[in-house]
């Protein structure tokens, strides 16, 4: 059995066939079934299967692209539950993006942030205010609401505004470390929410606790984006951008300096890493993804109010990062997907199922014990279990593996990054170790 498994692990063809059969069966069952959450989830988990194959990275991305862009929307479109599936998939995308942003701050730079949802709120309100008549209350010029075409620019604006808030938060907060930092960021998250809650007087900017209704839907070439199945594609594009950006940063000078600061601040400084700048950059870049998704969220819900941005949201995103594996990009993607689906689909489905059982008189479960209401309990238990048995998360962070043979050969470009007076290169070639 074990040798069979090992053979499978080495054989690309077997993996490909298995993956193809798996995707085929799950997509077919999703296509046939009127409303099958299981089939939907199984099709999504084919991506996890794909992650564990030995294919080249490009192949993996291509297959994932085909599944996400064509297969998933197409096969789900047959049933009447199409929009609810797409709603789930869209939210999964939004949360993955945010979790990846938080992963930069918590996982890579090691700065515990308990108020991360504030940046999401900033993004959402940025679009919410200007795409409704709300902005007319305080803007001396311009006509509001802005048209749906402005949405695309607002994705960028949301990104920059959130990054700005990240820096503004960072400047005072970075004087403290560890537990103190967590408390200060928690406070910041609450402050932002309460400000949005109370900013209806003296000038009505956010419309207070009433929230901002009827946010203008995005518009592209005369088509309004109204349904989750349309937002799904917007989210997919931003998510792709997020993942690529995070990966780029992770294996660059900046990513290394984040990790260095996390591992040992004093050593990092002594190696020339500017502490404040590096931390601010982590805050700003992490926040910017959140801001972008905030804009999308506001447009998708067509309604923004402060209750969407509570402390529980911040903690949920943090749990996604912890569950997936701090600092690990694939881990965080998985963690965020698992948490969102658990939250939106599994718990509700189980609740519905239990309700049906109690209606038919098989079981009687008090309403207070319905799984949908035990979200916090379940998150808490998950965290404890993971802290005990898998402290590094579902897919722990791995260091990049450098190929010794590539590094051995070839010469160093003399005018890149190294001072010309250096003579060590020649010496290095002749030395004996």
């Amino acid at each position: 059995m074990k040798s069979l498994w090992n053979k499978y692990k080495q054989n690309k063809l077997a993996q490909g066939i298995f993956l193809l059969i798996y995707i085929g069966i799950t997509s077919l069952s999703l296509f046939m079934a009127q409303r099958s959450v299981t089939a939907f989830l199984l099709l999504l988990s084919s991506l996890l299967l794909l992650y564990f194959t030995n294919f080249k990275n490009l192949t993996k991305w291509l297959i994932a692209g085909i599944v996400l862009v064509f297969l998933l929307p197409f096969t789900a479109s047959n049933g009447d539950a199409f929009q609810s599936y797409m709603e789930v998939a869209t939210l999964v995308g939004i949360y993955i993006s945010m979790a990846l942003g938080l992963n930069i701050v918590v996982g890579m730079a090691g700065l515990l942030d308990l108020g991360f949802v504030a940046f999401f709120a900033v993004g959402a309100y940025t679009y919410g205010i200007f795409s409704t008549a709300q902005a007319a209350n305080f803007m001396p010029f311009g006509t509001f609401p802005l048209s749906g075409e402005s949405f695309w620019i607002f994705i960028l604006i949301g990104c920059f505004v959130a990054a700005l808030f990240g820096i503004l938060l960072g400047i005072p907060v970075l004087r403290v470390k560890g537990d103190y930092l967590a408390i200060v960021t928690l406070g910041f998250g609450e402050i932002i929410r309460i400000i949005f809650n109370n900013l209806d007087r003296p000038i009505n900017i956010t419309n207070g606790a009433m929230g901002i209704p009827s946010v203008t839907p995005p518009r592209l070439f005369g088509v309004d984006f109204l349904f989750p199945s349309q937002f799904y594609y917007i989210v997919l594009v931003i998510l792709l951008f997020t993942i690529f950006t995070v990966r780029r940063f992770e294996h660059s000078k900046i990513g290394r300096s984040w990790k260095a600061v996390r591992e040992n601040e004093i050593a990092a400084q002594s190696m020339g890493v500017p502490l404040v700048r590096t931390k601010l950059m982590a805050f700003a870049i992490g926040a910017s993804f959140s801001g972008m998704m905030g804009v999308v969220f506001a447009a998708k819900q067509a309604f923004v109010d402060p209750t969407s941005f509570t402390l529980l949201e911040s903690i949920t995103i943090l749990v996604m990062v912890l569950l997936g594996g701090m600092g690990s990009v694939p881990g965080v993607v998985l963690g965020a997907a698992v948490m969102t689906i658990l939250n939106l689909q599994v718990l509700t489905e189980v609740s519905n199922w239990l309700n049906q059982l109690s209606l038919s008189g098989v079981l009687s479960i008090p309403d207070a014990l319905s799984p949908a209401k035990m979200q916090r309990l379940i998150f808490g238990l998950l965290l404890i279990l993971f802290a005990l048995y898998r402290p590094k998360g579902l897919l722990p962070a791995k260091n990049r593996v450098y190929d010794e043979n590539v590094l051995k050969e070839g010469s160093i470009d003399p005018d890149l990054g190294f001072t010309p007076e250096q003579t060590q290169n020649e010496n290095l070639d002749t030395k004996e170790v």
Binding site: F249, G272, Q424, L428
Partner: protein, 258 residues
């Protein structure tokens, strides 16, 4: 020609005087040792030179340019690099990544360049990886390049710290007890390494060390601290027979016996 000059450096932590009026001049390309009993203020002295602590009074000049008051990363940029007494590696990062962090100030990559993965940045990255690999070869850790730093043996961690410090292309390198915890063979290898790298990297070495055999063998000049004050300085042979030094190490009365 002197490269580093320290003038009347004093550091007080509240009522405790860690360093009092310490001065020294370090010649270019020399190996200078700072010795003294435990608690003499040697590491505080290093921490002031590298900007971790700000001196209460006094001045530090690198190539006649004042560097006290600068932040540690600015001091590193000026050309002073160091290792630590209690090893401070980036434990969860791989061996080669540790060295790459050392090159931080010499890499030009910026936000935009990294985001768009510009060709110049890619070349710079490749080049720095090769360079890091050569530095690992130099200290004899090339075969461990993908290992996590925390999994290395004690001696290997010390050598990795040296490789990381060299990656910053310093003019002056400060080694804080580089041989602590090493066995005699490792100490001997380290001695050879320090001697060699001084010439090959055109370095000035300042080191703190308790291993007197090592100190006497490689240093050209020795400064002795005790209770935060400089009690002696000079060539190794003079220091060896200096009664004040013997007293600081062995207690008063030892001079007459030994």
């Amino acid at each position: 020609m002197s490269i580093l000059e320290v003038r009347n450096l004093t550091k007080k932590f509240g009522g405790l005087i860690a360093n009092q009026d310490v001065s020294m001049t370090v010649e270019k390309n020399s190996i200078t040792a700072v010795i003294g009993p435990n608690g003499a203020g040697k590491t505080t002295f290093f921490n002031m030179i590298t900007g971790v602590y700000q001196p209460t009074s006094g001045a530090i000049l690198l190539e006649n340019e004042k560097i006290n008051g600068l932040k540690p990363h600015e001091v590193s940029k000026k050309g002073i690099s160091r290792t630590f007494q209690n090893i401070r590696l980036f434990n969860e990062m791989s061996v080669i990544e540790n060295v790459l962090v050392g090159m931080h100030t010499h890499l030009k990559a910026g936000l935009i360049g990294i985001l768009f993965n510009l060709p110049a940045i890619r070349r710079e990255e490749k080049s720095s990886e090769k360079k890091a690999y050569q530095l690992l070869e130099y200290v004899g850790l090339a075969h461990l390049l993908n290992e996590k730093a925390c999994n290395l043996s004690y001696g290997a961690q010390r050598r990795l710290e040296i490789a990381r410090a060299l990656a910053a292309q310093p003019k002056v390198i400060l080694l804080d007890e580089p041989a602590a915890g090493m066995n005699p063979k490792e100490t001997n290898d380290l001695t050879q390494l320090v001697k060699r790298m001084r010439h090959e990297f055109n370095l000035t070495v300042i080191l703190i060390e308790h291993d007197m055999k090592l100190v006497m063998e490689i240093s050209e000049y020795i400064i002795v601290l005790d209770h935060g004050e400089k009690i002696a300085e000079g060539k190794p042979e003079n220091i060896r027979n200096n009664p004040k030094v013997i007293e600081a190490y062995l207690g008063s009365g030892a001079v007459h016996v030994g």
